[in-house]
């Protein structure tokens, strides 16, 4: 399964949820906002949202800006 995550193609051997992916990158779920196939995912749905082949995932967070 290949998923585009923040513009990069990422391969997965096994099914994975958004929550599992964030955990694998040591990212606190409450520090980011996630868009799955251009739909914003509520944080309470991270555990139940599974990624599929050719999905598009955007994971963003606030940074310094003016």
């Amino acid at each position: 399964m290949i998923v585009a995550i923040n513009g990069e193609k990422v391969s997965f051997m096994d099914p994975i949820t958004i929550a599992s992916f964030l955990d694998s990158k040591s990212i606190q779920p409450d520090s980011v906002v996630v868009e799955h196939n251009k739909i914003i995912v509520p944080s309470e749905d991270y555990q139940t949202t599974w990624l599929n082949h050719q999905d598009n995932l955007e994971i963003l967070r606030f940074v310094g800006g003016g």
Partner: protein, 262 residues
């Protein structure tokens, strides 16, 4: 001329400070809480970006005191559609409904696109956002933004990050006179006297990032901007004394020692 509005009410909030600050360009984000304190500011801007999985850095949100009103910007947006997308993502973080619209395709001067900004403002206002659009100080764009439902207008003093001061002063005067929304001067203010100048002219507030963050002492420079903005506001409320081409003595022109002496 607008009626007095102290404290400053905008976007459904009552603010004790007319200085908005940013979070970009600090040599260390650890300075941010001290700058919030020294400025007394209530409002702070942030940007939204993709997480870089190869370079997980400090989380700027850890350094923003909880009492601050967050104002995410849509920097990086090249058209109204992208600005709307960024705004909705920002709101999904739970930070509230304030959004500063930036739509920029010009990379040399970083000047904002007024047409796309107005389109985004209308969409986001209808979606429940309090929209603060960043624009060139153009009267017709500002009128479009009023009609689109903006809660304030944020005209630039000079291009972003240039610290060149209130280069657009004459155009900003026109907005202050003719636009019945708060005018928050944003971008280009390089030193406290620039901000004071904007406030004396009747601006409602200023947003300052680069000039504070890249100064040698951001905590002290933040205080200097806060003091200047308060001084400028007081000057505006006090009403400027008239100017004259010719000298007008401040001391009496009678009772001189020489009078009547032989």
């Amino acid at each position: 001329m607008k009626p007095n509005n102290d404290p400053f009410e905008v976007g459904g909030k009552t603010l004790s400070s007319r200085l908005f600050i940013g979070t970009g360009k600090y040599s260390s984000d650890r300075m941010i809480p001290e700058v919030c304190k020294s400025t007394g500011s209530n409002v702070i801007t942030v940007a939204l970006r993709r997480v870089d999985f190869n370079a997980i850095t400090d989380n700027v949100m850890q350094h923003i005191p909880s009492h601050m009103q967050l104002m995410p910007n849509t920097s990086g947006a090249r058209d109204a559609h992208e600005a709307v997308r960024i705004a909705r993502l920002a709101r999904a973080t739970g930070c509230g409904n304030w959004i500063k619209i930036e739509v920029i395709t010009d990379n040399k001067y970083l000047l904002p696109d007024g047409y796309q900004t107005a389109k985004a403002t209308e969409i986001l206002t209808n979606d429940g956002f309090a929209v603060f659009p960043y624009i060139n100080p153009d009267l017709y764009v500002a009128r479009d933004l009023v009609n689109a439902g903006a809660v304030a207008i944020m005209p630039l003093g000079a291009p972003i990050g240039t610290n060149r001061g209130l280069r657009t002063e004459e155009m900003i005067h026109i907005l202050i006179e003719d636009i019945d929304l708060p005018i928050i001067v944003d971008a280009g203010l390089g030193k406290p006297s620039h901000a004071c100048q904007a406030m004396e002219a009747g601006a409602d507030a200023c947003l300052v990032n680069t000039a504070i963050a890249t100064s040698e002492n951001p905590v002290l420079m933040g205080k200097a901007f806060a003091d200047a903005i308060q001084a400028g506001r007081n000057s505006f409320l006090a009403g400027k004394a008239p100017t004259s081409q010719w000298a007008a003595a401040s001391s009496p022109l009678t009772g001189f020692l020489r009078e009547g002496s032989s």
